[in-house]
């Protein structure tokens, strides 16, 4: 008569956690040894009892209560529509600003080329220099006033809107993270 089976083997047998060879050994031993067979049977009953663990019914309205809270919470994983709207607004704002800058710059260039004098005269004649500067800056001004009158405020507004959407999202995430503090382990 070989010695009794280790308890760990009995558990692993129940778990189906043995190699084919080990399982055969255990099976053969159980056929011959009534002590181990009884131990195995009591473990089997324990396993059966644990599987009878009572499950309690959750009230019907539980899902609705959770969903009401979910709807009330302002920060899901940030709705993609909001994110894209924000990004598009920022991009459009930047484009409009760039356009008005180009427009203003071309007005300056027009002002400078309108002056048909020699470049050397500019350095020697302060009055001429002043004239060019004035016409240049008025070009810049008219450029900004022209297209810029509508484009710049619109661009800035869109930019601000986009930044605001982004900021809301960040703030939301930060709030969730601060509250959450996931604890793994311990």
């Amino acid at each position: 008569m070989s010695e009794h089976l280790r308890r760990e083997m009995l558990h692993r047998y129940l778990d189906g956690d043995l190699t084919w060879q080990e399982r055969e050994q255990v099976r053969q031993h159980l056929d011959m040894c009534s002590t181990c067979a009884r131990e195995m049977e009591s473990l089997r009953r324990a396993e059966y009892a644990l599987r009878q663990m009572a499950r309690f019914t959750v009230p019907r309205e539980f899902t609705q209560r959770v969903m009401a809270q979910v709807r009330a919470s302002a920060t899901p994983a940030a709705s993609p529509t909001v994110v894209w709207a924000g990004r598009t607004a920022m991009l459009a704002g930047l484009l409009l600003l760039a356009l008005s800058l180009v427009e203003a710059w071309s007005s300056v260039m027009t002002g400078i080329t309108a002056f048909s004098g020699n470049a050397v005269d500019l350095l020697t004649d302060p009055v001429l220099l002043l004239e060019v500067l004035v016409s240049g800056s008025s070009g810049l001004g008219s450029g900004l006033v022209g297209l810029g009158e509508t484009a710049v405020p619109l661009g800035l507004a869109l930019l601000a809107l986009g930044a605001f959407a982004q900021a809301l999202r960040w703030l939301g995430n930060i709030a969730v993270e601060m509250e959450m503090t996931p604890q793994n382990g311990t």
């Binding site: 473990l43 644990l50 969903m67």
Partner: protein, 204 residues
């Protein structure tokens, strides 16, 4: 043949929440689909509430905590990696939330009381004859006593295994412990259960 084809077409066309995988639902819920999240809640409310109840020992607290847990799940969906299974991720968040609660209350190691039993009846009514019911009752009581005697981590492992049917691997992920530890925990639960049955004379 035709019925097969129709079922196949039906399966392809059925994009309702009822048959979608947990992971697909989680992704949809993350993108703002409330119906998808409601379906996840329906699938797991029994599991989460029952786990919370076994961990905190009070039914009403378990209901409140579970509600908060699902809200946390929703707010953290953007951290969920859809390539990994949803179930262990959910139970991990749930157990951690319960442990946090117990820590806050400073009674993590306080004895779990079996007197504060859930007001609703367990869902098990197969054998309606009085003798089997009495035996069932006896076994249920023994199980609750054993659970109460186990430390929280062991208890969580046992509940996830025997109530929720998680695999050892899933339990390891949910409780953030090595597979070997999960096995030792569950073997210990089984040994305690065996001893409890012996004490009640329910032995072979």
């Amino acid at each position: 043949m035709w019925t097969h084809a129709l079922t196949l077409i039906g399966a392809v066309m059925d994009r309702g929440e009822g048959k979608a995988t947990d992971e697909a639902l989680a992704v949809r819920a993350r993108d703002g689909n409330h119906d998808a999240f409601a379906e996840l809640v329906r699938r797991y409310q029994q599991g989460v509430v029952n786990l919370a109840y076994r961990l905190v020992g009070d039914w009403d607290t378990a209901l409140d905590l579970s509600q908060e847990i699902f809200l946390r799940v929703y707010q953290n969906l953007h951290r969920f990696d859809a390539r990994r299974p949803f179930k262990p991720w959910l139970y991990r968040l749930a157990t951690n939330y319960c442990y946090d609660y117990l820590r806050r209350r400073g009674r993590r190691d306080r004895a779990f009381t079996t007197t504060a039993l859930a007001p609703t009846l367990p869902i098990s009514d197969e054998g309606a004859n009085p003798e089997t019911l009495a035996l069932q009752g006896e076994i249920h009581r023994a199980v609750e006593e054993v659970l109460a005697s186990l430390p929280p981590r062991y208890r969580a492992a046992a509940v996830l295994r025997y109530l929720e049917g998680l695999s050892y691997q899933e339990i390891a992920e949910a409780l953030d412990m090595p597979l070997g530890t999960v096995k030792t925990h569950l073997h210990r639960a089984r040994e305690q259960m065996r001893a409890a049955l012996e004490a009640k004379g329910l032995t072979p």
